[in-house]
Amino acid sequence: MYWVLIKASLFRKKIRTFLTIASISIAFLLFGLLNSMSAIFTGSMQGMAADIIMVMPKYNMLGTQPYSNVEYVRSLEGVEKVTHMTMLASDPLSSMFDGMIFAADGNLFDVYTRFQATEEHKEAMLQRPDGVLVGRLLADQKGFKIGDKIRTKATFKHEDGTFNWEFEVVGFYTVEQFTGDEMGIISNYKYIDDSRMTMKGTTGYIIAKVLSPELANSISIKIDKNFENSDRATRSGPENQLAMEMVGEFGDIELIMNLILSAVFFTILLVTGNTMSQAVRERTADLAVLKSIGYGDFQLFVSVMLEAFIIIFSGLILGLGITLLMIPLIVAASQDMLQDAIYLTSSAFTTAFLIGVLVSFVSSFMPARQALKLKVVDALAKG
Protein backbone atom coordinates (compact mmCIF):
# COMPACT_ATOMS: atom_id res chain seq x y z
CA MET A 1 0.00 0.00 0.00
CA TYR A 2 2.71 2.46 1.05
CA TRP A 3 4.78 1.76 -2.02
CA VAL A 4 1.94 2.77 -4.37
CA LEU A 5 1.52 6.07 -2.51
CA ILE A 6 5.26 6.74 -2.29
CA LYS A 7 5.82 5.89 -5.93
CA ALA A 8 3.00 8.24 -6.88
CA SER A 9 4.65 11.02 -4.86
CA LEU A 10 8.19 10.40 -6.08
CA PHE A 11 7.18 10.28 -9.74
CA ARG A 12 4.85 13.25 -9.56
CA LYS A 13 7.78 15.63 -10.22
CA LYS A 14 10.46 13.37 -11.61
CA ILE A 15 13.04 16.07 -12.27
CA ARG A 16 12.70 17.51 -8.78
CA THR A 17 13.04 14.06 -7.23
CA PHE A 18 16.09 13.37 -9.39
CA LEU A 19 17.73 16.70 -8.52
CA THR A 20 17.03 16.25 -4.82
CA ILE A 21 18.55 12.76 -4.84
CA ALA A 22 21.49 14.10 -6.88
CA SER A 23 22.22 16.89 -4.39
CA ILE A 24 22.01 14.47 -1.49
CA SER A 25 24.30 12.00 -3.26
CA ILE A 26 26.85 14.78 -3.85
CA ALA A 27 26.72 15.63 -0.16
CA PHE A 28 27.32 11.99 0.77
CA LEU A 29 30.05 11.76 -1.86
CA LEU A 30 31.78 14.68 -0.17
CA PHE A 31 31.23 12.99 3.19
CA GLY A 32 32.65 9.73 1.85
CA LEU A 33 35.70 11.33 0.26
CA LEU A 34 36.51 13.47 3.30
CA ASN A 35 36.11 10.46 5.53
CA SER A 36 38.17 8.20 3.33
CA MET A 37 40.97 10.76 3.38
CA SER A 38 40.70 11.55 7.05
CA ALA A 39 43.71 9.38 7.78
CA ILE A 40 45.79 11.79 5.73
CA PHE A 41 44.22 14.89 7.24
CA THR A 42 44.34 13.74 10.82
CA GLY A 43 47.66 11.92 10.67
CA SER A 44 46.09 8.79 12.05
CA MET A 45 47.52 6.63 9.32
CA GLN A 46 47.44 2.92 9.69
CA GLY A 47 50.68 1.32 10.66
CA MET A 48 51.97 4.12 12.84
CA ALA A 49 52.81 2.42 16.06
CA ALA A 50 52.22 3.56 19.61
CA ASP A 51 55.38 1.82 20.87
CA ILE A 52 57.69 3.67 18.48
CA ILE A 53 59.08 6.99 19.70
CA MET A 54 60.32 9.59 17.26
CA VAL A 55 62.85 12.12 18.51
CA MET A 56 63.50 15.12 16.27
CA PRO A 57 65.04 18.57 16.62
CA LYS A 58 62.51 20.72 18.45
CA TYR A 59 62.63 23.85 16.33
CA ASN A 60 63.29 22.47 12.86
CA MET A 61 61.88 19.12 11.87
CA LEU A 62 64.27 18.99 8.90
CA GLY A 63 67.26 19.95 11.10
CA THR A 64 69.86 17.77 12.75
CA GLN A 65 70.86 16.72 16.24
CA PRO A 66 74.13 15.35 17.56
CA TYR A 67 74.68 11.62 17.21
CA SER A 68 75.25 11.49 20.95
CA ASN A 69 71.52 11.95 21.38
CA VAL A 70 71.12 8.47 19.90
CA GLU A 71 73.36 7.05 22.60
CA TYR A 72 71.44 8.92 25.28
CA VAL A 73 68.09 7.52 24.09
CA ARG A 74 69.59 4.03 23.88
CA SER A 75 70.69 4.28 27.50
CA LEU A 76 67.19 4.97 28.86
CA GLU A 77 65.34 2.34 30.81
CA GLY A 78 62.34 0.96 28.88
CA VAL A 79 63.93 1.54 25.48
CA GLU A 80 64.28 -1.72 23.61
CA LYS A 81 65.98 -0.75 20.34
CA VAL A 82 67.13 2.47 18.71
CA THR A 83 67.87 3.48 15.16
CA HIS A 84 68.11 6.79 13.34
CA MET A 85 67.69 8.41 9.93
CA THR A 86 69.13 11.48 8.26
CA MET A 87 67.54 13.08 5.28
CA LEU A 88 69.81 14.20 2.47
CA ALA A 89 68.28 17.49 1.47
CA SER A 90 68.93 17.68 -2.26
CA ASP A 91 68.61 20.16 -5.06
CA PRO A 92 65.76 18.67 -7.11
CA LEU A 93 66.63 20.53 -10.30
CA SER A 94 70.13 19.09 -10.41
CA SER A 95 69.26 15.61 -9.19
CA MET A 96 68.06 12.56 -11.10
CA PHE A 97 64.81 12.50 -9.20
CA ASP A 98 62.90 14.56 -6.66
CA GLY A 99 62.39 11.84 -4.04
CA MET A 100 64.01 11.61 -0.62
CA ILE A 101 67.27 9.87 0.23
CA PHE A 102 67.57 8.77 3.83
CA ALA A 103 70.79 7.76 5.48
CA ALA A 104 69.84 5.06 7.94
CA ASP A 105 71.52 2.95 10.54
CA GLY A 106 72.06 -0.72 9.70
CA ASN A 107 69.35 -1.87 12.11
CA LEU A 108 66.58 0.29 10.63
CA PHE A 109 64.56 -2.72 9.43
CA ASP A 110 64.96 -4.41 12.77
CA VAL A 111 63.55 -1.46 14.76
CA TYR A 112 61.15 0.07 12.30
CA THR A 113 59.36 -3.09 11.19
CA ARG A 114 56.90 -1.20 8.98
CA PHE A 115 59.79 -1.01 6.51
CA GLN A 116 60.76 -4.38 5.04
CA ALA A 117 63.46 -5.76 2.74
CA THR A 118 64.70 -9.24 1.92
CA GLU A 119 67.71 -10.53 3.81
CA GLU A 120 69.58 -10.67 0.51
CA HIS A 121 68.99 -6.97 -0.22
CA LYS A 122 69.76 -5.90 3.35
CA GLU A 123 73.02 -7.83 3.22
CA ALA A 124 73.87 -6.36 -0.18
CA MET A 125 73.46 -2.87 1.26
CA LEU A 126 75.69 -3.60 4.22
CA GLN A 127 78.35 -5.02 1.89
CA ARG A 128 78.44 -2.01 -0.37
CA PRO A 129 78.87 1.40 1.39
CA ASP A 130 77.31 3.40 -1.46
CA GLY A 131 74.60 0.79 -1.99
CA VAL A 132 71.01 1.88 -1.59
CA LEU A 133 67.62 0.22 -1.31
CA VAL A 134 64.95 1.90 -3.41
CA GLY A 135 61.31 2.00 -2.35
CA ARG A 136 59.26 -0.37 -4.49
CA LEU A 137 56.84 2.37 -5.59
CA LEU A 138 59.66 4.72 -6.62
CA ALA A 139 61.50 1.90 -8.38
CA ASP A 140 58.36 1.02 -10.35
CA GLN A 141 57.75 4.63 -11.26
CA LYS A 142 61.30 5.50 -12.27
CA GLY A 143 62.25 2.07 -13.57
CA PHE A 144 65.20 1.66 -11.19
CA LYS A 145 66.79 -1.78 -11.21
CA ILE A 146 69.67 -3.42 -9.39
CA GLY A 147 73.01 -2.05 -10.59
CA ASP A 148 71.61 1.35 -11.64
CA LYS A 149 73.50 4.46 -10.52
CA ILE A 150 71.60 7.24 -8.76
CA ARG A 151 73.11 10.71 -8.71
CA THR A 152 71.92 13.58 -6.59
CA LYS A 153 73.11 17.06 -5.67
CA ALA A 154 72.91 17.36 -1.88
CA THR A 155 73.06 20.50 0.23
CA PHE A 156 76.18 19.34 2.03
CA LYS A 157 79.58 18.67 0.53
CA HIS A 158 81.03 15.32 -0.38
CA GLU A 159 84.66 14.83 0.71
CA ASP A 160 85.67 15.32 -2.93
CA GLY A 161 84.69 18.97 -2.56
CA THR A 162 81.56 18.82 -4.69
CA PHE A 163 77.91 18.52 -3.72
CA ASN A 164 77.50 15.49 -5.96
CA TRP A 165 76.62 12.14 -4.46
CA GLU A 166 76.40 8.87 -6.31
CA PHE A 167 74.81 5.62 -5.17
CA GLU A 168 74.22 2.19 -6.62
CA VAL A 169 70.92 0.33 -6.39
CA VAL A 170 71.49 -2.98 -4.60
CA GLY A 171 67.89 -3.82 -3.73
CA PHE A 172 64.43 -2.64 -2.86
CA TYR A 173 62.31 -2.11 0.21
CA THR A 174 58.58 -2.16 0.78
CA VAL A 175 56.37 -0.62 3.43
CA GLU A 176 53.70 -2.73 5.03
CA GLN A 177 51.14 0.07 5.28
CA PHE A 178 50.91 3.51 3.73
CA THR A 179 52.90 2.82 0.60
CA GLY A 180 53.65 6.52 0.15
CA ASP A 181 56.75 5.78 2.23
CA GLU A 182 57.96 3.65 -0.68
CA MET A 183 58.80 6.85 -2.55
CA GLY A 184 62.23 7.11 -0.88
CA ILE A 185 65.75 5.67 -1.01
CA ILE A 186 67.58 4.26 1.98
CA SER A 187 71.37 4.58 2.08
CA ASN A 188 74.10 3.72 4.61
CA TYR A 189 74.43 6.34 7.31
CA LYS A 190 78.01 5.37 8.04
CA TYR A 191 79.04 5.89 4.41
CA ILE A 192 77.29 9.28 4.22
CA ASP A 193 78.69 10.48 7.52
CA ASP A 194 82.21 9.32 6.71
CA SER A 195 82.07 10.90 3.25
CA ARG A 196 80.66 14.34 4.04
CA MET A 197 82.76 17.35 4.84
CA THR A 198 80.23 19.15 7.03
CA MET A 199 77.61 18.19 9.61
CA LYS A 200 79.55 15.09 10.58
CA GLY A 201 78.31 13.28 13.67
CA THR A 202 74.76 14.51 13.33
CA THR A 203 71.52 12.76 12.52
CA GLY A 204 67.95 13.76 11.79
CA TYR A 205 65.36 11.56 13.47
CA ILE A 206 65.94 9.08 16.23
CA ILE A 207 63.54 6.15 16.20
CA ALA A 208 63.23 4.14 19.42
CA LYS A 209 61.15 1.09 20.11
CA VAL A 210 59.99 0.99 23.71
CA LEU A 211 59.06 -2.09 25.71
CA SER A 212 55.35 -1.17 25.83
CA PRO A 213 53.15 1.64 24.46
CA GLU A 214 52.40 2.77 28.03
CA LEU A 215 56.03 3.79 28.44
CA ALA A 216 56.13 5.88 25.26
CA ASN A 217 54.85 9.12 26.74
CA SER A 218 56.92 9.10 29.90
CA ILE A 219 60.12 8.27 28.01
CA SER A 220 59.37 11.00 25.46
CA ILE A 221 58.90 13.53 28.24
CA LYS A 222 62.13 12.41 29.86
CA ILE A 223 64.06 12.85 26.60
CA ASP A 224 62.69 16.33 25.95
CA LYS A 225 63.30 17.33 29.57
CA ASN A 226 66.89 16.22 29.31
CA PHE A 227 67.63 18.47 26.32
CA GLU A 228 65.37 21.32 27.38
CA ASN A 229 66.78 24.82 26.84
CA SER A 230 69.87 23.48 25.11
CA ASP A 231 70.99 23.90 21.51
CA ARG A 232 69.99 20.30 20.96
CA ALA A 233 66.43 20.63 22.28
CA THR A 234 64.22 17.81 21.06
CA ARG A 235 60.62 17.13 20.33
CA SER A 236 59.68 13.54 21.12
CA GLY A 237 56.55 11.45 21.18
CA PRO A 238 54.88 8.25 20.04
CA GLU A 239 54.96 8.15 16.26
CA ASN A 240 51.18 8.21 15.78
CA GLN A 241 50.69 11.05 18.27
CA LEU A 242 53.53 13.11 16.83
CA ALA A 243 52.16 12.72 13.33
CA MET A 244 48.80 14.05 14.48
CA GLU A 245 50.44 16.95 16.32
CA MET A 246 52.42 17.88 13.24
CA VAL A 247 49.33 17.86 11.03
CA GLY A 248 47.56 19.85 13.72
CA GLU A 249 50.16 22.60 13.36
CA PHE A 250 48.69 23.42 9.98
CA GLY A 251 45.35 24.05 11.69
CA ASP A 252 42.67 22.03 13.37
CA ILE A 253 41.98 19.88 10.33
CA GLU A 254 39.44 17.74 12.14
CA LEU A 255 37.48 20.82 13.18
CA ILE A 256 37.60 22.16 9.63
CA MET A 257 36.37 18.79 8.32
CA ASN A 258 33.57 18.71 10.85
CA LEU A 259 32.56 22.25 9.94
CA ILE A 260 32.47 21.36 6.24
CA LEU A 261 30.42 18.25 6.95
CA SER A 262 28.04 20.18 9.22
CA ALA A 263 27.50 22.71 6.44
CA VAL A 264 26.93 19.89 3.98
CA PHE A 265 24.36 18.19 6.14
CA PHE A 266 22.61 21.38 7.09
CA THR A 267 22.24 21.96 3.37
CA ILE A 268 20.81 18.47 2.87
CA LEU A 269 18.39 19.14 5.67
CA LEU A 270 17.21 22.35 4.03
CA VAL A 271 17.04 20.81 0.55
CA THR A 272 15.10 17.76 1.68
CA GLY A 273 12.93 19.68 4.14
CA ASN A 274 12.04 22.19 1.45
CA THR A 275 11.35 19.47 -1.12
CA MET A 276 9.13 17.53 1.24
CA SER A 277 7.21 20.63 2.37
CA GLN A 278 6.69 21.68 -1.21
CA ALA A 279 5.66 18.17 -2.24
CA VAL A 280 3.12 17.89 0.57
CA ARG A 281 1.76 21.38 -0.16
CA GLU A 282 1.31 20.49 -3.83
CA ARG A 283 -0.41 17.27 -2.91
CA THR A 284 -2.92 18.76 -0.51
CA ALA A 285 -5.82 17.77 -2.78
CA ASP A 286 -4.40 14.28 -3.32
CA LEU A 287 -3.98 13.77 0.40
CA ALA A 288 -7.53 14.98 0.97
CA VAL A 289 -8.81 12.46 -1.57
CA LEU A 290 -6.82 9.67 0.04
CA LYS A 291 -8.26 10.60 3.41
CA SER A 292 -11.75 10.73 1.89
CA ILE A 293 -11.53 7.22 0.57
CA GLY A 294 -10.40 5.91 3.93
CA TYR A 295 -6.66 6.37 4.31
CA GLY A 296 -5.94 7.16 7.94
CA ASP A 297 -4.03 10.18 9.25
CA PHE A 298 -1.20 8.02 10.56
CA GLN A 299 -0.92 6.06 7.32
CA LEU A 300 -0.35 9.28 5.40
CA PHE A 301 2.08 10.49 8.09
CA VAL A 302 4.12 7.30 7.65
CA SER A 303 3.89 7.57 3.87
CA VAL A 304 5.46 11.06 3.87
CA MET A 305 8.16 9.96 6.33
CA LEU A 306 9.00 6.92 4.22
CA GLU A 307 9.17 9.08 1.12
CA ALA A 308 11.86 11.23 2.75
CA PHE A 309 13.73 8.11 3.88
CA ILE A 310 13.69 6.74 0.35
CA ILE A 311 14.94 10.03 -1.14
CA ILE A 312 17.74 10.40 1.41
CA PHE A 313 18.82 6.79 1.39
CA SER A 314 18.84 6.73 -2.43
CA GLY A 315 21.21 9.71 -2.28
CA LEU A 316 23.23 8.05 0.47
CA ILE A 317 23.67 4.77 -1.42
CA LEU A 318 24.50 6.63 -4.63
CA GLY A 319 26.96 9.00 -2.92
CA LEU A 320 28.82 6.33 -0.99
CA GLY A 321 28.70 4.01 -4.00
CA ILE A 322 30.42 6.66 -6.13
CA THR A 323 32.94 7.17 -3.32
CA LEU A 324 33.78 3.46 -3.35
CA LEU A 325 34.23 3.61 -7.11
CA MET A 326 36.38 6.73 -6.87
CA ILE A 327 38.80 5.46 -4.23
CA PRO A 328 40.63 3.06 -6.60
CA LEU A 329 40.74 5.83 -9.20
CA ILE A 330 42.30 8.27 -6.72
CA VAL A 331 44.81 5.63 -5.61
CA ALA A 332 45.69 4.96 -9.25
CA ALA A 333 46.01 8.70 -9.94
CA SER A 334 48.39 9.02 -6.97
CA GLN A 335 50.48 6.25 -8.52
CA ASP A 336 49.63 4.04 -5.55
CA MET A 337 51.13 6.45 -3.02
CA LEU A 338 47.75 6.62 -1.28
CA GLN A 339 47.24 2.85 -1.37
CA ASP A 340 46.62 2.44 2.35
CA ALA A 341 45.92 6.06 3.14
CA ILE A 342 42.41 6.38 1.73
CA TYR A 343 39.70 3.96 2.66
CA LEU A 344 36.17 3.95 4.03
CA THR A 345 35.87 2.44 7.45
CA SER A 346 32.79 0.65 8.75
CA SER A 347 32.34 3.52 11.20
CA ALA A 348 32.03 5.91 8.24
CA PHE A 349 29.16 3.78 6.90
CA THR A 350 27.55 3.69 10.33
CA THR A 351 27.88 7.47 10.68
CA ALA A 352 26.40 7.99 7.21
CA PHE A 353 23.51 5.67 8.09
CA LEU A 354 22.82 7.54 11.34
CA ILE A 355 23.01 10.89 9.56
CA GLY A 356 20.61 9.54 6.94
CA VAL A 357 18.11 8.43 9.57
CA LEU A 358 18.40 11.70 11.50
CA VAL A 359 18.11 13.97 8.46
CA SER A 360 15.21 11.90 7.06
CA PHE A 361 13.36 12.19 10.33
CA VAL A 362 14.02 15.88 10.94
CA SER A 363 13.37 16.97 7.35
CA SER A 364 10.13 15.06 6.95
CA PHE A 365 8.59 15.43 10.37
CA MET A 366 6.89 18.77 9.80
CA PRO A 367 5.57 17.94 6.30
CA ALA A 368 4.38 14.56 7.59
CA ARG A 369 2.65 16.29 10.48
CA GLN A 370 1.06 18.66 7.98
CA ALA A 371 -0.35 15.61 6.17
CA LEU A 372 -1.47 14.15 9.48
CA LYS A 373 -3.34 17.28 10.53
CA LEU A 374 -4.82 18.03 7.12
CA LYS A 375 -8.58 18.58 7.31
CA VAL A 376 -10.26 16.87 4.38
CA VAL A 377 -13.11 19.31 4.13
CA ASP A 378 -10.85 22.39 4.10
CA ALA A 379 -8.44 20.79 1.63
CA LEU A 380 -11.22 19.79 -0.76
CA ALA A 381 -12.76 23.25 -0.52
CA LYS A 382 -9.43 24.77 -1.59
CA GLY A 383 -9.29 22.31 -4.51
Binding site: A8, I293, G294, G296, V376
Partner: protein, 196 residues
Amino acid sequence: MSDSLVSVKAVNKTYQRGGEKLVVLDDLSLEVPKGDFLALMGPSGSGKSTLLNLIGGLDTPTSGSVEVDGERLDALNSKALSKWRSSHVGFIFQFYNLLPVLTAFRNVELPLLLTKLSGSQRKQHVETALNIVSLADIVCDEPTGDLDRDTATDILNLLQILNRDHGKTILMVTHDPMAADSAKRILHLDKGKLTH
Protein backbone atom coordinates in the same frame (compact mmCIF):
# COMPACT_ATOMS: atom_id res chain seq x y z
CA MET B 1 -36.09 -0.24 12.87
CA SER B 2 -36.12 2.64 10.40
CA ASP B 3 -35.82 1.95 6.69
CA SER B 4 -33.68 5.07 6.30
CA LEU B 5 -30.13 4.69 5.15
CA VAL B 6 -29.32 8.22 6.28
CA SER B 7 -30.84 9.82 9.32
CA VAL B 8 -29.79 13.37 10.18
CA LYS B 9 -31.32 14.75 13.36
CA ALA B 10 -31.22 18.33 14.68
CA VAL B 11 -27.80 18.92 13.21
CA ASN B 12 -26.01 22.19 13.72
CA LYS B 13 -22.70 23.06 12.13
CA THR B 14 -21.01 26.30 13.01
CA TYR B 15 -17.60 27.73 12.23
CA GLN B 16 -15.76 30.40 14.13
CA ARG B 17 -14.28 33.02 11.83
CA GLY B 18 -12.38 35.51 13.96
CA GLY B 19 -14.92 36.86 16.42
CA GLU B 20 -17.83 35.91 14.18
CA LYS B 21 -19.84 32.70 14.54
CA LEU B 22 -20.90 31.33 11.19
CA VAL B 23 -23.96 29.06 11.20
CA VAL B 24 -23.80 26.75 8.19
CA LEU B 25 -26.41 24.16 9.16
CA ASP B 26 -29.18 25.23 11.49
CA ASP B 27 -31.09 22.52 13.34
CA LEU B 28 -31.41 20.46 10.20
CA SER B 29 -33.08 17.07 10.06
CA LEU B 30 -33.28 14.75 7.07
CA GLU B 31 -34.18 11.15 6.34
CA VAL B 32 -32.92 9.39 3.21
CA PRO B 33 -34.41 5.97 2.61
CA LYS B 34 -32.39 3.11 1.13
CA GLY B 35 -32.37 3.20 -2.66
CA ASP B 36 -33.15 6.90 -2.83
CA PHE B 37 -31.56 9.23 -5.37
CA LEU B 38 -31.60 12.66 -3.79
CA ALA B 39 -30.47 15.94 -5.29
CA LEU B 40 -29.59 18.79 -2.94
CA MET B 41 -29.86 22.23 -4.47
CA GLY B 42 -29.43 25.71 -3.14
CA PRO B 43 -27.38 28.88 -3.50
CA SER B 44 -23.67 28.99 -2.70
CA GLY B 45 -23.06 29.00 1.04
CA SER B 46 -26.42 27.39 1.78
CA GLY B 47 -24.74 24.37 3.45
CA LYS B 48 -25.20 21.73 0.73
CA SER B 49 -21.58 20.57 0.66
CA THR B 50 -21.34 20.70 4.44
CA LEU B 51 -24.36 18.43 4.74
CA LEU B 52 -22.88 16.08 2.16
CA ASN B 53 -19.56 16.05 4.05
CA LEU B 54 -21.36 15.10 7.27
CA ILE B 55 -23.25 12.27 5.57
CA GLY B 56 -20.06 11.08 3.82
CA GLY B 57 -18.20 11.00 7.14
CA LEU B 58 -15.73 13.67 6.09
CA ASP B 59 -16.77 16.05 8.85
CA THR B 60 -18.58 15.91 12.16
CA PRO B 61 -21.49 18.10 13.33
CA THR B 62 -21.21 20.71 16.07
CA SER B 63 -24.33 19.19 17.58
CA GLY B 64 -27.03 16.73 16.58
CA SER B 65 -26.65 13.23 15.17
CA VAL B 66 -25.80 11.76 11.82
CA GLU B 67 -26.57 8.09 11.36
CA VAL B 68 -25.73 6.20 8.20
CA ASP B 69 -26.69 2.56 7.76
CA GLY B 70 -27.11 2.22 11.52
CA GLU B 71 -23.74 3.80 12.37
CA ARG B 72 -23.64 7.01 14.44
CA LEU B 73 -20.97 8.96 12.54
CA ASP B 74 -20.93 11.85 15.01
CA ALA B 75 -19.73 9.43 17.69
CA LEU B 76 -16.81 8.03 15.70
CA ASN B 77 -13.25 9.27 16.08
CA SER B 78 -11.04 10.17 13.14
CA LYS B 79 -9.55 6.69 12.76
CA ALA B 80 -12.91 4.95 12.94
CA LEU B 81 -14.38 7.42 10.46
CA SER B 82 -11.53 6.70 8.00
CA LYS B 83 -12.23 3.00 8.30
CA TRP B 84 -15.94 3.53 7.86
CA ARG B 85 -15.42 5.69 4.76
CA SER B 86 -13.16 3.09 3.18
CA SER B 87 -15.88 0.43 3.34
CA HIS B 88 -19.15 2.33 3.13
CA VAL B 89 -18.96 5.33 0.89
CA GLY B 90 -17.80 6.26 -2.58
CA PHE B 91 -17.01 9.82 -3.58
CA ILE B 92 -17.26 11.54 -6.91
CA PHE B 93 -15.37 14.81 -6.70
CA GLN B 94 -16.06 17.87 -8.76
CA PHE B 95 -12.48 18.05 -10.06
CA TYR B 96 -12.01 14.25 -10.21
CA ASN B 97 -8.88 14.54 -8.01
CA LEU B 98 -7.16 11.53 -9.48
CA LEU B 99 -3.52 10.97 -8.52
CA PRO B 100 -1.85 12.20 -11.70
CA VAL B 101 1.08 9.78 -11.90
CA LEU B 102 -1.02 6.69 -11.33
CA THR B 103 -2.85 4.92 -14.12
CA ALA B 104 -6.64 4.88 -14.12
CA PHE B 105 -6.43 1.25 -12.96
CA ARG B 106 -4.19 2.20 -10.03
CA ASN B 107 -6.44 5.12 -9.12
CA VAL B 108 -9.43 2.83 -8.94
CA GLU B 109 -7.38 0.31 -7.00
CA LEU B 110 -6.34 2.84 -4.32
CA PRO B 111 -9.28 2.27 -1.94
CA LEU B 112 -8.87 -1.48 -2.31
CA LEU B 113 -5.31 -1.29 -1.00
CA LEU B 114 -6.82 -0.66 2.40
CA THR B 115 -8.68 -3.97 2.31
CA LYS B 116 -7.29 -7.42 2.96
CA LEU B 117 -7.87 -8.47 -0.65
CA SER B 118 -5.00 -10.18 -2.43
CA GLY B 119 -3.40 -8.63 -5.50
CA SER B 120 -5.36 -10.84 -7.88
CA GLN B 121 -8.62 -10.22 -6.06
CA ARG B 122 -8.03 -6.48 -6.22
CA LYS B 123 -7.32 -6.77 -9.91
CA GLN B 124 -10.56 -8.63 -10.43
CA HIS B 125 -12.51 -6.05 -8.46
CA VAL B 126 -11.04 -3.18 -10.37
CA GLU B 127 -11.54 -4.82 -13.71
CA THR B 128 -15.22 -5.36 -13.03
CA ALA B 129 -15.57 -1.95 -11.39
CA LEU B 130 -17.15 -3.69 -8.43
CA ASN B 131 -15.47 -1.36 -6.05
CA ILE B 132 -18.06 1.29 -6.91
CA VAL B 133 -21.06 -1.02 -7.12
CA SER B 134 -20.24 -2.75 -3.83
CA LEU B 135 -20.36 0.43 -1.80
CA ALA B 136 -23.50 1.09 0.22
CA ASP B 137 -24.04 4.65 -0.91
CA ILE B 138 -22.49 7.24 -3.13
CA VAL B 139 -22.14 10.95 -2.46
CA CYS B 140 -21.46 13.34 -5.32
CA ASP B 141 -20.50 16.98 -4.97
CA GLU B 142 -21.26 18.74 -8.25
CA PRO B 143 -20.45 15.59 -10.28
CA THR B 144 -21.19 17.37 -13.56
CA GLY B 145 -19.89 20.79 -12.59
CA ASP B 146 -16.77 20.60 -14.73
CA LEU B 147 -18.09 18.47 -17.60
CA ASP B 148 -19.42 19.19 -21.07
CA ARG B 149 -23.09 18.44 -21.63
CA ASP B 150 -22.60 15.03 -23.32
CA THR B 151 -20.24 13.70 -20.66
CA ALA B 152 -22.47 15.09 -17.93
CA THR B 153 -25.40 13.20 -19.43
CA ASP B 154 -23.34 9.99 -19.49
CA ILE B 155 -22.44 10.39 -15.82
CA LEU B 156 -26.01 11.11 -14.82
CA ASN B 157 -27.19 8.05 -16.75
CA LEU B 158 -24.57 5.99 -14.95
CA LEU B 159 -25.78 7.27 -11.59
CA GLN B 160 -29.34 6.40 -12.53
CA ILE B 161 -28.27 2.88 -13.49
CA LEU B 162 -26.43 2.45 -10.18
CA ASN B 163 -29.52 3.64 -8.34
CA ARG B 164 -32.13 1.79 -10.37
CA ASP B 165 -30.38 -1.47 -11.19
CA HIS B 166 -28.00 -1.86 -8.25
CA GLY B 167 -30.06 -0.24 -5.53
CA LYS B 168 -27.39 2.27 -4.63
CA THR B 169 -28.45 5.22 -2.54
CA ILE B 170 -27.16 8.41 -4.10
CA LEU B 171 -26.87 11.89 -2.63
CA MET B 172 -25.92 14.56 -5.09
CA VAL B 173 -25.21 18.24 -4.59
CA THR B 174 -25.73 20.27 -7.71
CA HIS B 175 -26.44 23.69 -9.10
CA ASP B 176 -27.50 22.21 -12.41
CA PRO B 177 -31.30 21.78 -12.81
CA MET B 178 -30.76 19.13 -15.51
CA ALA B 179 -28.63 17.07 -13.13
CA ALA B 180 -31.20 17.52 -10.39
CA ASP B 181 -33.90 16.23 -12.72
CA SER B 182 -32.08 12.89 -12.87
CA ALA B 183 -32.77 12.38 -9.19
CA LYS B 184 -35.90 10.85 -7.71
CA ARG B 185 -36.41 13.82 -5.44
CA ILE B 186 -34.97 17.28 -4.97
CA LEU B 187 -34.45 19.16 -1.72
CA HIS B 188 -33.56 22.82 -1.43
CA LEU B 189 -31.34 24.31 1.24
CA ASP B 190 -31.05 27.93 2.17
CA LYS B 191 -29.07 29.43 5.04
CA GLY B 192 -28.56 26.02 6.58
CA LYS B 193 -32.22 24.96 6.57
CA LEU B 194 -34.24 22.73 4.27
CA THR B 195 -36.84 24.88 2.58
CA HIS B 196 -38.84 22.22 0.68
